[in-house]
């Protein structure tokens, strides 16, 4: 077989036993790779009801068939596990270089099981696989850890690791790779911390053999050129990265502001792409083999927020920035650096602080509880909260549990803007109805990366949909969920991958993507078969959720989204009309009216019937 190595590395951290195994080619084809393979193994081997922070939880690093191939943006991996934040699935995506280096070890998947008796890291250099002590890096941030581990292994190695937040089991802990890239969401870093696994170090020269290397090269050059044309025209992603987006969402009135009390931010110009570019941008930074290069190296050269790193991305601006009412860009950039260094998801971190700010302003928590005043817009308090969360100190103990548990503890669950206990990203669904349906049904709780219909509702890609209507959204959401499951399983980045998903008439069908997968693997997918495999992946994940206790009863939206109309902007007066969309969505997915996949659907997809 090609594209895939068809090899899994399994490390039992309790016994320190390392085994390798082959993947059945039929399973490989049916579940695509990456995220798809991971759920196959988790569903088969693990009781979905386990405590996510117990040794019984599996932690899977999963590359796809296009990772480490010439396919532009074939640089991704997924971290898949049961989430301690949501109790549902976590599948968090990251790029940079580590995923390519991981695939070059000769394995597609690393599966970590059990729990080490003391802090360890795992080195994988092709056949040299070692579980080593991490005592000397425990307690260190992600940047120091990366430098130390590269220093003692090889400058050629790449590192994925947790920082203090993961060690301290903060439920918003991320796994950082190459210092600045994050498999961020759903507390994957806490699972790693619970296993006493500080880091994974990968290197090797085993590029996957390709089914048709020549054709693969030409299609890659061709697609790269297409992206390149956009760069010449001055594409926003190339110039600003995602930081141009606040102006877009502010215009549409869906920019999360002060914990979703508003949909527009009066100081948006202080925290948008132009402000960042003019004040702190040093240069663009690409993930491996990406023609778009949307990352940005930035520096705050002096003052109290002095620092250097990458970002912030839009999602950080809309959470730690506008979400908290913060308009001080230097402080926001610093907060982003800290999250990367401590290893934290900026969305959940920011929106949890935002909830605490609203609770403080409403008098539901006092200065005594917090240890300081905590008003919207207080950027210094925001930074202080991040530190307390990462180190699980003082009020940080409450914050480190995420906003759902925080609001519940203090008797105001209506203030938490979450689904499946995970914080919303930067699109207020009251003005983006399809996103509302997506958040309510997503297999990993609220996330744009589960099927970003904002591409159509907000960005006009591939076509512009009216964000305020509900008509047609159930089908659109299903389609995007499957499309994202396909991209996540293949190993490409969605920013560019979405271009591989539609044709000249802007019909979404993965024509180029399935062709690339065929040239890599020889699996001979038709576009329809690739989409059906993605549907299989999505549906199996839903089965996992049902068994994990995060089934249809969690397909709901938080109080604010259903009962408090947006007070300002173009979507003024609106709430999410979920009940208009949910029944049709279930039907489109082949689920019954209660939200359970029908036996017919399971049979059609070749999935286990129970």
């Amino acid at each position: 077989m090609y594209g895939w190595h068809l090899k899994i590395l399994r490390v039992n951290l309790t016994t320190r036993k390392v085994t390798t195994e082959d993947v059945d080619p039929k399973i490989a084809r049916d579940y695509l790779g990456g995220r798809g393979w991971a759920i196959h193994y988790m569903y088969k081997e693990m009781d979905p009801a386990v405590d996510p922070l117990s040794p019984e939880n599996m932690l899977i690093f999963a590359t796809g068939p296009l990772t480490a191939t010439p396919a532009p943006t074939g640089n991704r991996y997924m971290v898949v596990t049961k989430s301690p934040l949501t109790g549902a699935l976590a599948h968090s995506n990251s790029g940079g270089e580590f995923p390519t280096w991981m695939k070059r070890t000769g394995f597609d998947l690393f599966i970590f099981e059990g729990k080490a008796s003391e802090p360890v890291y795992v080195l994988v250099n092709e056949d040299q696989i070692e579980v080593r002590s991490a005592a000397h890096v425990w307690g260190k941030d992600t940047h120091e850890t990366t430098d130390i581990l590269k220093g003692e292994t090889s400058a050629e190695a790449r590192v994925a690791c947790i920082g203090p937040a993961g060690e301290n089991l903060a439920l918003m802990a991320a796994i950082m790779n190459d210092k600045h890239r994050a498999a961020a969401r759903s507390g994957v870093g806490a699972v790693m911390g619970s296993k006493n696994l500080k880091a994974v170090v990968a290197m090797g020269n085993k590029n996957p053999p390709l089914h048709d290397p020549e054709a693969m090269r030409s299609i890659s050059v061709e697609t790269s050129k297409n992206v390149g044309a956009d760069v010449k025209k001055g594409s926003n992603m190339r110039i600003y990265g995602t930081s141009y987006v606040p102006q877009v969402t502010n215009t549409l009135g869906i920019l999360p502001t002060r914990n979703f009390l508003q949909g527009t931010f009066e100081h948006v110009h202080n925290v948008d792409g132009d402000a960042l570019k003019n004040q702190y941008l040093i240069r663009h930074t690409p993930c491996y083999r990406c023609p778009l290069s949307c990352g940005r190296l930035t520096e705050v050269p002096d003052g109290p927020y002095k620092g250097k790193g990458e970002g912030p991305e839009y999602e950080t601006i809309s959470s730690l920035g506008t979400g908290c009412g913060v308009s001080n860009l230097a402080a926001l950039v610093k907060a982003n650096y800290l999250c990367n260094e401590y290893g934290m998801d900026t969305i959940t971190t920011g929106m949890t602080i935002a909830v605490a700010m609203e609770m403080y302003e409403k008098g539901y928590i006092s200065e005594d509880v917090v240890g300081m005043p905590l008003k919207f817009g207080d950027h210094d308090a925001m930074i202080e909260m991040i530190k307390l969360m990462a180190y699980n100190k003082g009020f940080g103990k409450d914050l480190a549990q995420g906003s759902y548990r925080l609001a519940e503890k203090y008797g105001h669950p209506e203030l938490a803007v979450t689904t499946r206990k995970q914080e919303f990203p930067g699109y207020d669904p009251r003005g983006s109805q399809g996103m509302g349906l997506l958040y309510a049904t997503s297999n990993k709780g609220a996330s744009h990366m589960e099927g970003d219909v904002a591409y159509e509702e907000v960005f006009g890609v591939p076509v512009k949909e009216n964000p305020l209507t509900t008509e047609g959204k159930p089908e659109l959401v299903k389609h995007f969920e499957d499309s994202f499951a396909l991209m996540d399983s293949s190993g490409v980045c969605v920013f560019v991958g979405i271009r591989y998903m539609f044709n000249k008439d802007r019909m979404i069908l993965p024509k180029i993507l399935s062709e690339m997968m065929n040239l890599a693997t020889g699996a001979g997918y038709t576009s329809e078969e690739a989409m059906q495999a993605a549907d299989r992946v999505y549906t199996l994940e839903r089965m996992f959720l049902i068994k994990a206790g995060s089934g249809p009863e969690w397909d709901v939206l938080p109080y604010r989204m259903l009962n408090e109309p947006l007070p300002d902007g173009p979507a003024k007066g609106r709430v999410v009309e979920l009940d208009k969309m949910l029944p049709e969505f279930y039907e489109k997915r082949g689920w019954d009216e209660k939200g359970y996949p029908t036996q017919k659907k399971l049979m059609e997809l070749g999935l286990p019937l129970n």
């Binding site: 956009d230 102006q247 877009v248 215009t251 009135g253 792409g273 907000v458």
Partner: protein, 79 residues
């Protein structure tokens, strides 16, 4: 009548110098449409652009009213 045109990010290059945060005031004749307003600028008027009126998705033939804001940006996957 006076309306406002707002260009986001790279589309600001299509505006004459002196705009504030990508916004300019524009005097258009009565009966002018969204299309009339944006076609004065060098931006693609096809599905490569997203053009909204007061933040709302509308037909480009929609007539403008005094005080309206037309906003345009490049259609691209982001966020």
């Amino acid at each position: 009548m006076m309306i406002r045109v707002k260009m986001i990010a790279n589309y600001r290059d299509a505006l004459p110098a002196g705009h504030k945060h990508g916004v300019i005031e524009l005097d258009v004749p009565d009966g002018a449409t969204v299309f009339d307003a944006v076609s004065r600028f060098d931006i693609p008027l096809n599905d490569e652009s997203v053009i909204v009126l007061n933040g709302l998705t509308v037909d480009l033939n929609t007539p403008l009213q005094e005080g309206d804001t037309v906003t345009a940006f490049s259609a691209i996957a982001g966020g």
